[in-house]
């Protein structure tokens, strides 16, 4: 049964092989979504198990921790797995209709599952170096995905994306090396145990800097985010959507994991710097989103701005704040992906992403309008959709912990978010289609085209209405993070199932 923990990695691996061999588009179109659906099912089962047992761990190859590689699933991992599986599933369906002809769908799914494998690996691994490997798997897949269309812009964006992320990877690897040099171990739980009792743990700070930068680049925080706006708008919208919800959040996940589990020895420094970075990230991203008139660019900058909130939660570092950060991350993954999906639909209807050339969609396709409204309102924090609770928890945590400045920045950024969302809404939906009455390429969508966005919209709303459960889980996750004893014990001593 415990093998279940390894399956989020192994199933995509098998699927990669399948897709390599698969030459039929028909089969791929069928296999991709179904397999992603199964993956979703699997993660839900895992989550149920986590609810039952608290933390699940498997020692790969039967080599006991800390010697072998341990895969661990706690609340945080399980939540991330479930939400990212939802997104993967949705994108797999979306790809069927929105991937251009120039991209072979059976090839697309190779990298799609590569991304899934790397990401799931990053979520479940309990080993620092193994995490590096999964990061690379994820990164490599994303490199290919971003350049799949082979247009000039995509290649240019791809080069920038790749260059900065590779720097991040190398710093990560250096960090792993230094960490191992100083502690003699790679297992995260073991690291936590060693550093917990060591008064010299402060010497970890330099390694922590390297991880900080590495994750900062992945998570796209200020001033390390440049690659994101330079590249996210270049690939096909399916791929942008895939990235928007997932990639940076893995960075956030590792941030949370590392800075709650074992880089906890110098809170003054790290929490301060996290907060500073968070604040700048929010504002820089928010301002830039306000400056642009291309939906994907707006949304890309907006990703950055939202990352700031997640980091803010970590920087405040109370259980509530961390729960807020996790809640925010989960909500943001869903809503952000959805906005990208809808912008893809807009593009399909109008043939452009430029807001100045679009209009009249509210009248023409009210359902599309609602589909945009849900995630946009979620992001803007309109109650009772998911985003409100995420922001509320963070602001509450900030105020109650006395972090007034960052809270003020967060509120200011919320206004920036509102501005960007209203801008898209006003321009694309409310205003008349510009040009002399030419409605552009009118397009009515089929159910299959609506489905991904509808599903995510429903998830966003449910996350709001049933916020008590989601909050319960994130609080549970936060408590596990703040008091990692169960995690450590499960990894190092094993569990009985």
């Amino acid at each position: 049964m415990i093998t279940l923990v390894a399956l989020p990695i192994l199933i995509p691996f098998v699927l990669i092989i399948g897709m390599l061999v698969c030459r039929s588009d028909k089969l791929a179109r069928w296999l991709g979504p179904v397999a992603s659906g199964l993956l979703l099912l699997l993660t839900v089962v895992l989550f149920v198990f986590v609810q039952k047992h608290g933390v699940l761990a498997i020692q790969m190859g039967g080599w006991e921790a800390p010697f072998g590689i341990t895969l661990v699933v706690d609340y945080l991992s399980a939540l991330m797995l479930v939400v990212s599986a939802i997104i993967l599933f949705v994108i797999a369906v979306y790809a069927l209709n929105f991937l251009p002809d120039s991209i072979n769908i059976n090839r697309f799914f190779i990298f799609f599952f590569g991304l899934a494998m790397g990401m799931n690996g990053a979520f479940v691994t309990g080993d620092v170096f193994n995490l590096f490997v999964w990061f690379e798997v994820m990164l490599m897949s994303s490199f290919v995905l971003i350049t799949m269309g082979r247009s000039k812009d995509q290649l240019e964006g791809g080069i920038k994306y790749l260059a900065l992320n590779l720097v991040g990877s190398l710093l990560f690897l250096a960090g792993v090396g230094l960490l191992y040099g100083k502690t003699g171990t790679l297992n995260m739980a073991h690291l936590a145990e060693i550093l917990k009792n060591d008064d010299q743990a402060i010497l970890m700070n330099t390694s922590a800097v390297l991880f900080f930068i590495a994750f900062g680049i992945k998570a796209a925080v200020f001033p390390l985010y440049f690659w994101l706006p330079a590249s996210y708008h270049t690939p096909n919208i399916t791929i942008s959507s895939l990235f928007a919800g997932l990639l940076t959040k893995v960075g956030v996940y590792t941030f949370i994991r590392f800075f709650t589990l074992f880089f906890v020895h110098d809170p003054q420094f790290w929490h301060q710097i996290l907060l500073v970075v968070a604040g700048f990230t929010m504002v820089a991203g928010g301002l830039a989103a306000a400056a642009h008139y291309e939906t994907r660019r707006i949304l890309s900058y907006h990703i950055i701005s939202q990352i700031g909130y997640m980091i803010m939660g970590l920087g405040i570092f109370t259980p509530l704040a961390i729960a807020g950060a996790i809640f925010f991350t989960l909500h943001n993954m869903i809503a952000k992906t959805n906005t990208f999906l809808v912008s893809g639909m807009i593009n399909k209807a109008r043939g452009t992403f430029e807001l100045k050339e679009i209009g009249g969609l509210f009248k023409e396709s009210p359902l599309t309008a609602i589909l945009f409204m849900i995630p946009a309102f979620a992001l803007a924090g309109v109650p009772p959709i998911s985003g409100f609770f995420a922001k509320f928890i963070l602001i509450k945590a900030g105020i109650e912990n006395g972090n007034y400045v960052i809270t003020a920045v967060a509120i200011f950024t919320a206004m920036l978010t509102l501005y960007s969302m209203i801008k898209i809404w006003n321009e694309a939906f409310l205003k008349k289609q510009p040009g002399n009455g030419n409605p552009g390429r009118s397009y009515s969508f089929s159910f299959a085209e609506y489905f991904p966005s509808v599903l995510l919209g429903i998830v966003s709303i449910l996350m709001g209405i049933f916020a008590m459960y989601v909050f319960g889980y994130t609080m549970e996750a936060a408590n596990q993070l703040i008091n990692p004893d169960l995690y450590i014990e499960t990894v190092l001593k094993g569990i009985k199932l």
């Binding site: 093998t3 390894a6 691996f13 990669i16 390599l20 498997i58 790969m60 190859g61 039967g62």
Partner: protein, 138 residues
Amino acid sequence: MNSVILQLAAKYLKWLFIVFAVLALIRGHNSPGGGFIGGLMAGLAIVYNGFAYDTFRIKERLQNFPEWLIAGGLFVIVLSFFPSLLLGETIMSGVWLKISLPLVGELKLGSPLLFDIGVFFTVIGVTLMFIFSLTQKR
């Protein structure tokens, strides 16, 4: 390069390389070598062959050869998981089979070796795919 000398040499060198690559693979568990090293060597052999003929002939004959190599290699890796699963052990655990052979002595075959073989083929495939892509006529 398209040189007669290199082509003459390639005829023999190719096999030498491959023999040594396989040697590196199967000896790898006990002496320097293993799937990566073996795979890279075998890959390089074919790369050399390509340079000698100034074309990558294998590509023309077997268009999808590298891809099959990769898929096959990965498949072997997956196969190597099954012994542990079937025996109910933690996945990826090594399962070993000891065979006593006359002359050779005791031979130990295990799923990690299978794993390494999978790596070997994958790496060959990858190397080939790299070089074929980079050198194709445009």
